[in-house]
Symmetry: C2
Subunit: 254 residues, 2 copies
Amino acid sequence: MKLAISGKGGVGKTTFAALLIRALDADGKQVLAIDADPDANLAAAVGIPAGRDMVPIAQMKELVAERTGAQPGNIGGYFKLNPRVDDLPESLSACLNNIKVMRLGGVQKGGSGCICPESTLLRALIRHVVLARDEVVVMDMEAGIEHLGRGTAKNVDKLIVVVEPGRRSIDTAVHIRQLAGEIDLKNIFVVGNKIRSSKDEDFLKKHLSGFQFLGFLPYDPQLIEADLEGVSPFDAQTEAKAVVSGMLKKIEQH
Amino acid sequence: MKLAISGKGGVGKTTFAALLIRALDADGKQVLAIDADPDANLAAAVGIPAGRDMVPIAQMKELVAERTGAQPGNIGGYFKLNPRVDDLPESLSACLNNIKVMRLGGVQKGGSGCICPESTLLRALIRHVVLARDEVVVMDMEAGIEHLGRGTAKNVDKLIVVVEPGRRSIDTAVHIRQLAGEIDLKNIFVVGNKIRSSKDEDFLKKHLSGFQFLGFLPYDPQLIEADLEGVSPFDAQTEAKAVVSGMLKKIEQH
């Protein structure tokens, strides 16, 4: 099973991804977790404190140069568009139980055909983990889904968009659906986060009426406290853990 | 006065920027507001409902082609590195009172010398508004400050980083300071947002001890309600308005 998680910055993508990954692990699954949001730290959220210091692969200049043949700082030079990446999940992951976490860093966005060695390496790696790995793959992505090409996208089983009660998170969800449509990624679910009351749920259902909802997570100060204390949301006293386990069953059934 | 606002996605950059812009306007200043965060909508937050439908300049393919001479979809072709932009603030802004808002969209990030026509146009525009305009300029930027080159940065009077009680917003603030250092942008202030108690303030002060704090904004459900109702935070019943007006005095004195 290959899952991609997206949504506006700050809505709780990484918290949700960490809860889902730990729930899969508790279920006995092998999980390959991909941190593709330069603004997040999935390894720390999963509960690997050393993950805080992981260098994103996009910033490993020597690795990027070695694998792509690119000369750093060289504009418009030649480099391999299909670099070797199959050994990287083993050699560049932080581990906990049955979970491997890889930290990718940022990829170049959109633009009129702009291609860089770093983003070529990251996209090759994403293609590899989606197409060729046996583990359950969970990808924590940015507000867009620029890491996914068309060939990769059709092997992503589900795209889960996290939203909060707020207009811009809704705008982002609509934009992500549009991008997903362009690469034929159709199986999209929404998770409502930071829900304070049924009014918040109604607001999201009303403004995202064309979307399929996976469920809702409550606004929970315990999750903020856990973050401040450097504790994984899965190890905190929170209702969210049970809610996400329920969502996982729904994901597996669909 | 030229101000840049940055911080992790979701911390409240745009809410703070909108409050600051409206406070400047109420003070009788001419303001040029730059929305450089593809995940935000500054015009709507300022209180221009039609701003919701503004097309970001980075997505105006014909304009980009006309000004840079680039052929859309052409990889590695030639284009102008110094396109004309001085007429754009007048022709491509949404207006309210003394405020003009321009929506830029995303710029290509980092990478090993990757340059695209869109980002060339956006950077030229930012350079123009920072170096050549008389208005007070307020820029709502992404988690990074990639829009700023070294020559532009030295004319930015203050970089304000918005943080919330959360580890990743702190990581982002530290990262932004590092990026700022690389382009000699030194006058950095921090605004703490979504503060629930003095404990939250203490957490931020402890983890950002090397930073200068401009002040703290309370966690305020009224701001969420205003957003859900499509009302500018400046037009909501909220303490934040007075707090930001106080911060503005501090900014002007420094």
